[in-house]
């Protein structure tokens, strides 16, 4: 005899003990005696570490004053950072011209907003502004020498400003160049492939310090007399090529994850190699590579500090130089904590943006 169910079971809410804050805590923090002990111990460790940091950085710290003698508390002496803030931010960029850097920041922020945010819809103009107009404007703005702006030699650039110049130029160059190298490495043309593989393996096989050293010390020896590039330009070229090699491998990983059928479908619709790449393959490959791309960007951003060894005064070098000032001896901790905090803010920002972007581009199965 057949057994037939005639009534449908209604949908019911899940049991209360599994939802809400109490449910979550019971499930995750206090489910067994061992977990209760671990939770209590973790909370204690977190409390003691944080309270020490907070009392050092805020409660017992000194913020007001002008000189070292104003630091009477037991905590950090932020007066040191405050007193040298201008130099930390701009290096030896002439004080009366620092507004030019600020204008550059503002224009850059507008550009970033247009490119990255959802609110600005016309991405074509955003890209033209950010990648074609903005770099040229920045060159004239920062370097000067025309339009009535005094010339500021790159040896006077420094501090956070120099760090940002190094990082953003390297990032802007590394991504497109990395894509080209990745495509070249997967090309069916043997010469192109060989060149790309050779470049990537050569650059990836040496430390960045070596590349910078080569660019700054060795290169001038090979160039004919009278021909000389700016030291900053040489460092920029070195860093860009270095990170392009890394980027190429990241992008290649993404390209390899795209099923062959995507290219075939694009081809069968009459799209040629470049259109298929630009419209179908690369958007997907770059999307899945976002975590690794941002990872490379963050690594690159922090690696800019290595220019210290070729005598460029980036944020870390300037702060470090400040700690040897005899009026501020013993301020090394404050200096390094400050540098760490600045780097952390930028890297954390990049990380959050990449998470937001991943969610936005997710088209798989979220309804």
């Amino acid at each position: 005899m057949a057994i037939v169910k005639t009534e449908r079971h209604p949908d019911m809410p899940p049991p209360v003990s599994q939802t809400g804050v109490i449910g979550w805590m019971r499930e995750n923090l206090f489910s067994t005696p061992l977990n209760i002990v671990l939770t209590v111990v973790s909370i204690y460790i977190a409390y003691s570490a944080l309270s020490g940091l907070i009392s050092y950085a805020f409660i017992n710290a000194n913020f007001a004053g002008e000189t070292r003698d104003d630091c009477t508390g037991t905590g950090a002496c932020w007066v040191f950072i405050k007193a040298r803030f201008g130099q930390n931010m701009y290096g030896f960029y002439p004080v009366e011209d620092r507004w030019r850097v600020d204008v550059g920041y503002i224009l850059g922020a507008i550009g970033l907003f247009m490119v990255l945010s959802d609110w600005f819809k016309n991405k074509k103009w955003a890209a033209i502004y950010m990648f074609a107009i903005y770099p040229i404007v920045c060159y004239f703005l920062f370097y000067g020498g025309t339009f009535g702006l005094t010339q500021v030699e790159t040896s006077e650039w420094g501090g956070l400003f120099l760090t940002l110049v190094l990082a953003s130029v390297s990032i802007f160059v590394a991504l497109p160049l990395g894509i080209v190298l990745a495509l070249g490495r997967r090309s069916e043309m043997p010469v192109v492939r060989l060149l790309c593989v050779g470049f990537i393996e050569l650059i990836r096989g040496v430390p960045l310090i070596t590349v910078l050293f080569m660019a700054s010390v060795m290169l001038p020896l090979f160039l004919p007399e009278g021909v000389n590039f700016d030291k900053l330009v040489r460092a920029l070229v070195g860093m860009s090529l270095f990170s392009a090699a890394y980027m190429a491998e990241v992008v290649r990983g993404g390209l390899q994850a795209i099923p062959k059928g995507q290219m075939e479908a694009a081809n069968s619709l009459g799209l040629g190699y470049w259109k298929a790449m630009g419209l179908i393959i690369l958007p997907q490959a770059l999307k899945i590579s976002i975590p690794s791309i941002v990872n490379t960007f963050i690594g690159l951003f922090k690696d800019t500090t290595l220019v210290l060894i070729i005598g460029l005064l980036d944020l870390l070098s300037v702060v470090k130089a400040g700690t040897t000032d005899k009026e501020w001896l013993g301020m090394a901790t404050e200096g390094y904590v400050f540098v760490a905090a600045v780097f952390w803010v930028f890297c954390f920002g990049m990380s959050r943006y990449s998470i937001w972007l991943e969610n936005k581009l997710h088209t798989g199965h979220k309804r």
């Binding site: 099923p259 081809n267 619709l269 009459g270 799209l271 997907q284 088209t363 798989g364 199965h365």
Partner: protein
């Protein structure tokens, strides 16, 4: 034969494979393939897996390269000339076993991409055409969703609509129902049948023998890289000639 009769012959023939061979490295996949498909003709290709069915139809739009012999599609011979390859691909639509929809684009964008970028159709017009074909495959309400949000049968119908948007004269189907759940096969087959009834030239690699019986003008049986037998469906199923065909039919019809 007079000049006029000659052109007549060329115009009536959609696809011609003459003495075509293909190797994968040392492996001889396709051996001396000779096939002529008339305009409006529907051909079903069947055979055991690894027999070269898919490879053969993938040669027709140059997803695979043949090494010997001639392939003439729509009067254009396939050579290394990229322009000619593109020209042929524009006229030949293809539907894949695994749909191969573009997951980062909506259903509508999947359908308008090629018309906009290859045929230079204005966006509004391309969208109008796309909606027309999405209605034909009965899923206009899914236009703004992403492929990942659709069922397999719906995805395959989108893939058919995407091909049709390029207004092809020939359609190639590479096992279009093999990756589908059983209850979704008929919705895709129905779409293909209605396409066949409109007079589209079609080559289908499929194991759906019911479809072959209703639609095909000719059924091809391939084994080990050769076309073993070709006949109208009635004759093919009722009175197969070669032993290999008989064996194959007994195996699949037994299961079906």
């Amino acid at each position: 034969m007079s000049e006029a009769a000659n052109t007549q012959v060329v115009e009536d023939v959609a696809i011609q494979l003459i003495g075509m061979h293909k190797w994968y490295g040392e492996f001889h996949v396709l051996k001396d393939i000779n096939l002529s498909v008339e305009r409006g003709e529907k051909i079903v290709v069947c055979g055991p897996s690894g027999s070269g069915k898919s490879t053969m139809i993938r040669c027709i739009n140059r997803l695979e390269e043949h090494q010997q012999g001639q392939i003439i599609v729509d009067g254009i011979e396939l050579t290394n000339d990229v322009k000619k390859i593109d020209e042929i691909r524009r006229e030949v639509g293809m539907v894949f076993q695994h749909f191969n929809l573009f997951p980062h684009l909506t259903v509508l964008e999947n359908c308008t991409l090629a018309p906009i970028w290859v045929r230079k159709t204005p966006k509004e017009e391309a969208e109008e055409i796309a909606m027309k074909f999405l209605e034909r495959v009965k899923i206009p309400e899914q236009a703004l969703k992403y492929p990942g949000q659709l069922s397999g049968g719906q995805q395959q119908r989108v893939a058919i609509a995407r091909s049709l948007c390029m207004n092809p004269r020939i359609m190639l189907f590479d096992e279009p129902t093999s990756a589908l759940d059983p209850e979704m096969i008929s919705e895709v087959l129905d779409t293909m049948i209605s396409l066949a009834e409109e007079g589209m030239t079609m080559i289908c690699v499929t194991h759906e023998m019911g479809f072959a019986k209703t639609v095909a003008d000719r059924v091809l049986f391939m084994d080990a890289g050769e076309i073993i037998e070709q006949a109208p469906p009635q004759e093919f199923f009722d009175n197969p000639q070669s032993d290999r065909t008989k064996l194959f039919l007994s195996q699949i019809l037994h299961n079906g």
